[in-house]
């Protein structure tokens, strides 16, 4: 087992990894920028190294600085967390060349599965259902028009090199395609340094369902069930839950088997998540894979009882999955996570500054993952996530009621947070009934804007939850 691990990240995930290491008797090294000198992850690590000025590019994304910090502290391994360098194959390669174990898949696999177009091709070969999409990059508007005509509108243009909604454009007709192609390409070039685009069939009202996997370095792969992450605003997840109301045990088992087989063939190891879209008829299509631990890993931990971060570390240390998970995976009860962001709950403007009061909810079935504290400062340089509130219950009803109770006791003063927004969502009848798709937040905001909207307005009150029958209907 590793003696010492460097955590190449910040905020709540850095603290999460530091905590797992501490529980395993592993010494920890935190890295931080000058803006994070008083962060909790710095305070609670055994050692801490300042690696640069506030800007991420000069600090957390600065590979030589991170590796140098790892060398002077003589660590055995680096845990990259999520975001930042976690899916950067070059970084994983530099770790390997520097004889430091990267806690994650090998760089070749990260490249294969991390780039959306190659991941789709890999999944297609493994007979995992994929959304109709271009086999590779679409180099020109003319080819884009051709492809869209064959597959049928609506279609979506996406950046090959990144995500988070950037370099993405939905196109519903051939007239708008050339212009949107240009926009998507230049936005992608600006955000990721690569303007390449690929295209997919677009589903108007999909549900976002993802599967958590763990794989060891000996060829064993396990699926730990799904999470539903349909509540999103501008492609950023707000609320995640496990299990999904739309996945039957049969589908869970079948899809799990398919995924396991595919990742075994690919030589994947570590933790990972396979993302799917479910269309209005219940059909499931692969969209992308994330080759790292995710923000919402906690909901899976709550329903399966498995510590995913510890599993990552043990896998990287060479342990077998059969040792790490020696019982069949059982999904117990229901868990929901709310992402608490430092932003205005209505205007969504970022809210950096000093937290003057910070009271965390607790009690039965409540978990809070946060690196903030009273008198702590939220710096303006990084993403706005300041806490994750996860509630577990015997069923969805109990976990929702628990979440409402916990939100009402989560007091943050000094900055704005999304807590009031979450409270309104949990009071929404459609959300409570599980009637949602990734367009839910758009409709929610419209409803909020006109509280007396008639019930018959198109698209508002859908029919019964879609049964995942697996049959395709027109």
């Amino acid at each position: 087992m590793f003696r010492k691990v460097l955590i190449a990240n910040r905020g709540e995930i850095a603290l999460r990894v530091i905590s797992a290491c501490r529980e395993m008797g592993i010494r920890t090294v935190a890295i931080y920028s000058e803006a994070d000198g008083h962060s909790l992850h710095v305070k609670f690590a055994d050692e801490a190294i300042c690696i640069g000025p506030p800007r991420s590019a000069d600090s957390y994304l600065n590979v030589p600085a991170v590796i140098s910090a790892a060398e002077i502290t003589d660590v055995d391994a680096i845990h990259p967390g999520y975001g930042l360098l976690s899916e950067n194959a070059n970084f994983a390669e530099v770790c390997r060349a520097s004889n430091i174990k990267f806690i994650g898949p090998p760089p070749e696999v990260t490249r294969l599965m991390g780039e959306k177009s190659t991941a789709r091709q890999t999944m297609k070969k493994a007979r995992v259902p994929i959304l109709p999409g271009s086999d590779g990059i679409i180099p020109s508007e003319a080819e884009a028009l051709d492809w869209a005509r064959n597959v049928g509108y609506p279609v979506i243009l996406k950046a090959a090199a990144g995500g988070g909604g950037r370099g993405m454009r939905i196109c519903r007709s051939p007239e708008e395609l050339p212009g949107l192609f240009q926009q998507a390409s230049s936005e992608a070039a600006g955000a990721f340094g690569n303007g390449d685009l690929y295209m997919e069939k677009f589903i108007e009202r999909p549900r976002h369902i993802e599967f958590q996997v763990l794989a060891d370095e000996h060829g064993d792969v396990l699926s730990l069930g799904e999470r539903e992450c349909s509540i999103q605003r501008r492609h950023q997840k707000l609320i995640e839950e496990a299990p999904s109301l739309m996945i039957t045990p049969k589908v869970r088992a079948e899809l799990g088997q398919t995924i396991q087989r595919c990742l075994r063939d690919v030589g994947y190891w570590g933790a990972g998540t396979i993302e799917f879209l479910m269309d209005e008829d219940g059909k499931i299509y692969f969209i992308e894979m994330n080759t790292r631990i995710q923000v919402e890993h906690c909901v899976t931990e709550m329903v399966t009882g498995i510590d995913l971060v510890k599993a990552q570390i043990r896998i990287a240390a060479g342990e077998r999955l059969s040792n790490i998970i020696n019982k069949p995976i059982v999904i117990n009860g229901h868990a929901i996570e709310c992402r608490i962001n430092a932003e205005h709950p209505e205007k969504f403007t970022p809210s950096a500054g000093k937290i003057t009061a910070f009271n965390l909810p607790g009690g039965n079935g409540v978990r809070v993952d946060t690196a903030q504290y009273a008198e702590g400062v939220v710096p303006p340089y990084y993403d706005s996530l300041i806490a994750k509130l996860i509630c577990h219950g015997a069923d969805r009803e109990e976990s929702m009621n628990r979440m409402q109770r916990a939100l009402s006791q989560f007091v943050v003063q000094g900055i704005h947070t999304s807590i009031p927004l979450h409270q309104r969502i949990f009071a929404d009848p459609e959300f409570r009934a599980g009637q949602f798709d990734t367009k839910f937040m758009e409709r929610f905001f419209e409803k909020q804007a006109k509280p007396t909207a008639p019930v018959t307005e198109e698209g508002h009150f859908s029919s019964d939850p879609i049964r995942a029958s697996g049959t395709a209907h027109g």
């Binding site: 190294i49 300042c50 000025p53 060398e71 002077i72 520097s98």
Partner: protein
């Protein structure tokens, strides 16, 4: 903290202050102490450890009075106003070396006059040697770190009295 230890600590602090000692570290089986006085001149403490130990032994035996000990006066250097001294900080994470190679002469010595852009030291990172240049012209007053020591971003390396 036990009453004994607390009393001991008070006497220790008084002793250190009255003798102008800026920093003090001590570790015993029952107690670990690190004291640093804010705003103290960076004077090298030349207190005889044996005399200090005797004092502490006397204190812990319940002896309230401070035993008269002869301590070579700590040369408290004339307090230099902090504003006139410039710290050269490391722009990278790595290992500090004062010379271009082992055994070679250091790049600079205390008292040397340096120009802007003059190489003061090396910080080695990922097997690459990075020459660290002075960002001011002036006299090298102090080398803050030792050769072979790991340094982080922003860590002070040298103090220079600018011209």
């Amino acid at each position: 903290m036990e009453q004994n230890n607390l009393q001991e600590l008070r006497e220790l602090v008084e002793f250190l202050k009255s003798n102008g000692i800026a920093e003090f570290d001590m570790e015993r089986t029952d107690l670990k102490v690190r004291i640093k006085f804010a705003g103290a001149a960076t004077a090298a403490s030349s207190v005889d450890p044996a005399q200090l130990a005797a004092l502490l032994a006397a204190a812990s035996a319940g002896n309230q009075s401070v035993a008269p000990v002869t301590i070579p006066s700590t040369a408290s250097s004339p307090t230099v106003p902090e504003e006139t001294l410039h710290e050269v900080k490391s722009p990278i994470v790595g290992t500090f070396y004062e010379s271009p190679s082992p055994g070679a002469q250091p790049f600079v010595k205390i008292g040397d006059q340096v120009e802007v852009g003059q190489v003061l030291c090396i910080v080695e990172a990922m097997k690459l040697v990075n020459e660290i240049e002075s960002d001011v012209a002036g006299e090298v007053v102090k080398r803050i770190v030792t050769s072979g020591q790991p340094v982080e971003y922003g860590q002070p390396l040298f103090t220079i009295r600018p011209r």
